[in-house]
């Protein structure tokens, strides 16, 4: 019937119709063109063609890359940079893992192999390539710098600074401002007094065994400032040690770095011994000379060596000989 035909709704696709229109046509059973006839209620089920389930099409996996790799390929092109282990790209029959009863598992699906930081990007041919690429930027090692002594001669000063890298939001580290300057004291031309004064001024910063003076500066906020300050300190030290101050004349016997016999009690004892039984005063001691006195010379040398070079069997024996020569009469000396 024409009415029935007209009233049968044909669902049209949403694309063709503007949206409000679509809704209206979907919801109502009214025909598109209004007629004067009655609406007819359709109770029959609409034929809905069965929706077939989405077919699971197995994704076609290509064979792994390793099966198609030629044996004489350039590996550096395959693995140019550091990368986590990828079993399909590495043509090796690797196994890793220990199970008491089974063989070690293969590389496919092996998490342990992925955990290892691999060096497939740094095989010997790759390293050679890197080196040859950098080589054109390299210059020859300068002549005249073959041995360590040459280094010390031409570059006596060593400056040590440290850079820090972080994985946190800040990349700056306050420790990066610390500057260490190491110099060998033999590089400066200091005379005896200057060297002694320098060592006294720096105190613990000087290492006697290696003859290295170490200055560590961290009082300024930036590295450059610290470096400048360190150089300034070094310059000041050098000039100060070369100057001789008036108050240095008041150096006492206890401050002496070397033992000098003439200024010491030992000479007084010797003089007292020689002048016995006369009492001896300080002036007598000062004026007493041992120019012609072999025994006294020997004694002086022995005591100086004993106290300057430290005490051991050799210096003690020397001292003993000198004193025996002094104290015991000739016939007693064996």
């Amino acid at each position: 019937m024409s009415v029935m035909q007209k009233c049968v709704m044909i669902r049209r696709t949403a694309n063709a119709i503007p949206i409000n229109y679509y809704q209206r046509t979907w919801c109502s059973t009214k025909a598109a063109a209004p007629t004067d006839e009655f609406r007819v209620l359709n109770l029959k089920k609409k034929f809905v063609p069965p929706q077939s389930k989405k077919k699971y099409t197995k994704t076609l996996l290509l064979p792994p890359r390793e099966t198609a790799m030629p044996v004489d390929q350039d590996w550096t092109n395959v693995w140019p940079g550091p990368k986590t282990f990828h079993p399909a790209s590495v043509p090796l029959a690797l196994r890793q893992g220990y199970d008491q009863k089974r063989a070690p598992p293969g590389k496919y699906g092996n998490a342990e192999l992925m955990k290892i930081p691999n060096f497939l990007h740094l095989t010997p041919p790759a390293v050679k390539k890197h080196c040859s690429a950098i080589k054109k930027f390299c210059t020859e090692w300068p002549k005249g710098l073959e041995t360590d002594e040459d280094f010390d001669k031409h570059f006596p000063m060593t400056i040590i600074t440290t850079d820090y890298c972080h994985s946190s939001p800040t990349i700056k580290d306050p420790k990066a401002r610390i500057v260490t300057i190491k110099v060998k004291l033999s590089a400066f031309d200091l005379d005896k007094h200057a060297r002694d004064k320098m060592i006294r001024l720096v105190g613990e910063r000087y290492d006697e065994e290696t003859d290295i003076l170490t200055i560590v500066t961290d009082r300024c906020p930036t590295r450059k400032q610290n470096y400048d300050y360190g150089i300034y300190v070094l310059t000041a030290l050098y000039h100060e040690s070369n100057t001789f101050e008036e108050w240095e004349k008041e150096k006492q016997e206890a401050d002496m770095e070397h033992y000098i016999w003439d200024n010491n009690v030992s000479k007084k004892a010797y003089v007292a011994l020689v002048e016995w039984p006369k009492k001896v005063s300080d002036d007598d001691v000062k004026s007493f000379s041992i120019e012609n006195d072999l025994v006294g010379q020997k004694y002086k040398d022995a005591v100086t060596e004993l106290l300057n070079n430290g005490e051991d069997t050799y210096t003690l024996n020397k001292y003993k000989e000198a004193v025996v020569g002094m104290l015991l009469p000739q016939n007693a000396q064996a």
Partner: protein, 395 residues
């Protein structure tokens, strides 16, 4: 694939033949029985239509497993060989001269694992070393076994016993023939089991690829001993040596440091890093000497403790070299007893080079040459000390 031919001698590739396919012998997948292989679906073997044969399901399954295993192993070997070539190429080395040692070194370089156990680290080995051996198919598709002794359940083992018995009979015949001609078997050539022992049960199991019981192993030992003790057993040394394992001579374990010479011509030996507890010592012994001792620059006064002094005296006294050598030692770390033990160890090892081998053997038996591995045991929670428990109170 050879095995395939063996299995199916009646293979007929007949596309037109529409014979009923009873069997599902399509060898498509190459998965190993251990389920560890490449999931490489690429290898496809064309379906072969087979003539109908009477085989039971169990047999079919068994044969399938066996063939699967064989093809799996073949594939593994193929992969290994290719992988070896790839690795040689990667390292820029000639593949022809690439040995297993080189492989191990290369893998160690490329995959530096920090794991403690060497067995857990990455490796690339020939599959024969990686997978435990498995038997081939023991019977064909009709169920007829290949090995004569198949129905014993352990054909390889029983064939060994059978061989021993056969050989024994042979030897008896031989001995009889000798005696007929009034020749006695040569007494000098009689074999002894000196210096070697029989394969252990584990070794025999590995050799036969069969599980053995203790009872069976005992049988084996009895049988082969009987063979060995036969007067004419020298004729079968080769056969018997297959089942013997030489005992390791412990003398060869003792390797001494090289003997060097000072400018004056005195011989001396230095042993570095001698350990005992936490102490480490470097000891130098000069051979023609007078009995001088210097430890960190001091004499024996370095140790106040008598026991420490006696420890150092012990190796010298044992080898009677107290006044014949000079000793110089530097020691650090640990405590008094540790230092003394470390120096003693160093002196013993140095003296090995200056005494006879018998004395070295006696020193080894005395325990002078052994590193004392004992360390302080840690205190455990819930106990007062390492072993001492808290006082047990009933209430």
């Amino acid at each position: 694939m050879m095995l395939m031919q063996r299995l199916f001698p009646n293979l007929v590739t007949n596309k037109l033949c529409s014979a009923k396919i009873l069997t599902n012998f399509v060898l498509r997948c190459t998965y190993g029985l251990n389920n560890v292989g490449s999931d490489d679906p690429g290898v496809e073997i064309p379906e072969k239509k087979i003539v109908e044969e009477k085989t039971s399901l169990a047999m079919r399954a068994y044969l399938q497993r066996a063939t699967q295993y064989n093809s799996f192993m073949d594939q593994q070997i193929h992969e290994y060989k290719i992988g070896k070539r790839h690795l040689a190429n990667m390292m820029g080395v000639d593949p022809e001269t690439f040995t297993q040692k080189d492989i191990d070194a290369a893998i160690g370089y490329l995959f530096p694992s920090g794991l403690y156990d060497p067995k857990a680290r990455p490796l690339m080995r020939p599959p024969s070393e990686v997978f435990p051996p498995k038997k081939d198919a023991e019977f064909d598709e009709s169920g007829r076994p290949f090995h004569v002794f198949f129905y014993t359940g352990k054909p390889n083992f029983y064939s060994i016993l059978h061989n021993i018995a056969t050989k024994l009979v042979e030897l008896n015949k031989f001995e009889d023939s000798l005696r007929k001609n009034n020749i006695l078997p040569d007494a000098d050539k009689k074999l002894t089991s000196f210096g070697s022992q029989w394969l252990s049960k584990e070794d025999l199991e590995k050799k036969t690829v069969e599980r053995l019981s203790d009872h069976e192993y005992k049988h084996f030992v009895v049988a082969i001993e009987r063979l060995l003790n036969h007067a004419c057993a020298y004729k079968l040394t080769e056969f018997i040596s297959e089942y013997q394992k030489p005992m390791i001579s412990t003398k060869s374990i003792v390797e001494s440091s090289p003997v060097l010479y000072t400018k004056d011509g005195r011989a001396y030996v230095t042993v570095k890093d001698c350990p005992r507890k936490d102490a480490r010592a470097d000891v130098t012994v000069y051979y023609p000497g007078t009995g001088k001792l210097s430890i960190n620059g001091k004499g024996i006064e370095f140790f106040d403790y008598i026991q420490a002094r006696e420890q150092i005296l012990f190796p010298l006294l044992f080898t009677d070299m107290i006044d014949k050598v000079d000793i110089e030692a530097t020691v650090s770390g640990g405590g008094v007893s540790g230092k003394a033990g470390a120096i003693r160890f160093g002196i013993s090892w140095c003296l090995c080079s200056f005494v006879d081998p018998e004395v070295v053997e006696r020193m080894r038996i005395a325990g002078l040459l052994q590193k004392d591995y004992r360390r302080r045991e840690r205190k455990k929670p819930g106990q007062a000390r390492a072993r001492r428990k808290f006082t047990w109170k009933k209430r």
